[in-house]
């Protein structure tokens, strides 16, 4: 005999497993802070490379002017400006990363909660059947 309630549970779990299962397990392997911190680290690397690229483009664009004024540039203030811009750039993307991955972590945990609830219900259903 087909058990409709069981089919419903198994279908929902199977759909979750097919679409989000692997990602859910991957995310669930971390505590929230660790998960966000690992992505912050990746953001740091990406943003640093991007900033270097943008700085290279800036140098290339102003190459002639820079060559003419290279001896009269106040190097300390230039480095300060570059560092400040880098910090602001990094800060913007860090905040974005925290917001995005916090939201994703919560979403995955919520979906996993439903999955485990269904799993328990399925287990109970089999237990009840055995006892009968």
């Amino acid at each position: 005999m087909l058990n409709e309630e069981r089919i419903r549970l198994m279908t929902r779990m199977s759909v979750y497993d097919k679409n989000e299962g692997a990602r859910g397990e991957r995310v669930n392997a971390y505590f929230m802070n660790d998960y966000i911190a690992s992505h912050l680290l990746r953001t740091f690397v990406c943003v640093t490379i991007a900033y270097v690229l943008l700085a290279a483009i800036y140098v290339l664009y102003n190459f002639e002017d820079l060559m003419l004024t290279i001896y009269s540039i106040d190097l300390v203030s230039l480095l300060k400006t570059l560092a400040l811009r880098y910090v602001v750039f990094l800060l913007i993307f860090s905040v974005l990363t925290v917001l995005i991955y916090y939201y994703r972590y919560r979403k995955v945990r919520k979906a996993l909660g439903i999955y485990y609830r269904d799993l328990r219900a399925l287990q109970n259903s089999y237990k009840e059947e055995k006892q009968r």
Binding site: L2, I7, M10, V15
Partner: protein, 350 residues
């Protein structure tokens, strides 16, 4: 309307039946169209611009997520630019790398918009994509729209200055050419105005469609399209972007029609979430097709009437006890017979 609903039912049943073929076929067509447009506009290498490379790239991209397909199209464009000039290819690759580091890093799910932008630009209806993005995705899709517009405008700028880049130069002039490319991108006011218009439209459509009001999706489409047109017109007046006003108006009208078609098919049931799944227990193998139910937010309305005095309330109840704006015993209905039998409606009418 009944005829339209019949057509919709027919299309939906065909979609249900052949969903496994329709979705990849649609993706293949979009990528193939984007490839052909790319080859027509910036086809600087004959070998890469043929039909066979387009077919191969489209087939490969069909098997990938939309974001990955967009990156592959970007690499094909870089190869095409290489045959025009090394500096153009380098600038495009830097643009692509920046996108990978700062945008694709967050793995957005609306990559299909990037594939559709070249196609919609070629058809003269780029205005439909911000509307579709607001209807189907999150406000963050405004960034995807911005990336799509920037990429298409980059290609157009290079194609417009093809003769400048096609002459060979020595290494010392390369920096000058790079400066020319960066100038062209940074001073492309048309692109900035279109990006601003798209961003405003995506956010407006998203906010309005989520409001709990009647016809919110339709209102969102119309308001989003009008806002987009207004920003484009204001931008044209302020910055002299040379956007064809007639073209923008016509494109917006067509975009509204297409967005309404999207609403027509997506509003009642989200057929994009149909799931085919299979599993087994001790006794059976199950092959299940799960179709999501229609769940619409229902407005919880309570009408509260406030009367200034008790006399006012009694007067209103006497004049209009049912609250339907009609008198309880209209004189023209009374013909001298048994009034109660004739006036009060049958029970099933309630």
């Amino acid at each position: 309307m009944a005829y339209l609903l019949e057509i919709r039912a027919g299309i939906i049943s065909a979609y249900r039946k052949y969903e496994n073929y329709i979705v990849p076929a649609f993706r293949f067509l979009v990528v193939f169209a984007a490839m052909r447009i790319l080859c027509a506009r910036i086809g600087y290498s004959r070998n890469l611009s043929g039909l066979l490379p387009s077919l191969i790239v489209s087939l490969v991209c069909t098997l990938m997520p939309a974001g990955g397909a967009a990156v592959i199209l970007g690499l094909v464009a870089a190869a095409q630019f290489y045959f025009l000039a090394l500096e153009v290819s380098a600038a495009w690759l830097v643009f692509l790398l920046l996108l990978l580091l700062l945008y694709f890093r967050f793995s957005p799910k609306d990559g299909m918009l990037l594939l559709l932008y070249p196609v919609c630009f070629a058809l003269g209806i780029p205005y439909v994509l911000p509307l579709a993005a607001g209807l189907l995705f999150l406000p963050s899709s405004a960034v995807t729209c911005a990336v799509g517009i920037a990429a298409v405008c980059f290609g157009r700028y290079i194609a417009a200055n093809e003769s400048y880049f096609s002459t060979s130069v020595d290494a010392t002039e390369m920096a000058g050419r790079l400066k020319f490319i960066i100038d062209g991108i940074a001073q492309n006011r048309q692109a900035f105005v279109m990006i601003g218009a798209a961003a405003v439209s995506v956010v407006a459509v998203y906010i309005i469609r989520r409001l709990v009001i009647r016809y919110s999706w339709h209102i969102a489409v119309v308001v989003g399209a009008i806002l987009q047109l207004i920003v484009i017109l204001l931008g044209d007046m302020r910055f002299g972007t040379n956007i064809s006003v007639g073209g923008a108006f016509l494109g917006t009208l067509v975009s509204i029609v297409i967005a309404e078609i999207i609403v027509f098919f997506l509003f009642n049931l989200d057929y994009s979430r149909i799931e085919d799944t299979q599993f087994e227990d001790d006794e059976y193998y199950y092959y299940v097709k799960a179709i999501p139910k229609m769940t619409l937010p229902r407005a919880n309305r309570r009408v509260k009437q406030i009367y200034t005095s008790r006399q006012d309330l009694i007067g209103r109840l006497r004049d209009d006890p049912y609250g339907d704006g009609e008198e309880p015993y209209p004189e023209e209905d009374y013909d001298g017979g048994d009034y109660e039998d004739e006036y009060y409606p049958e029970e099933e009418d309630y």
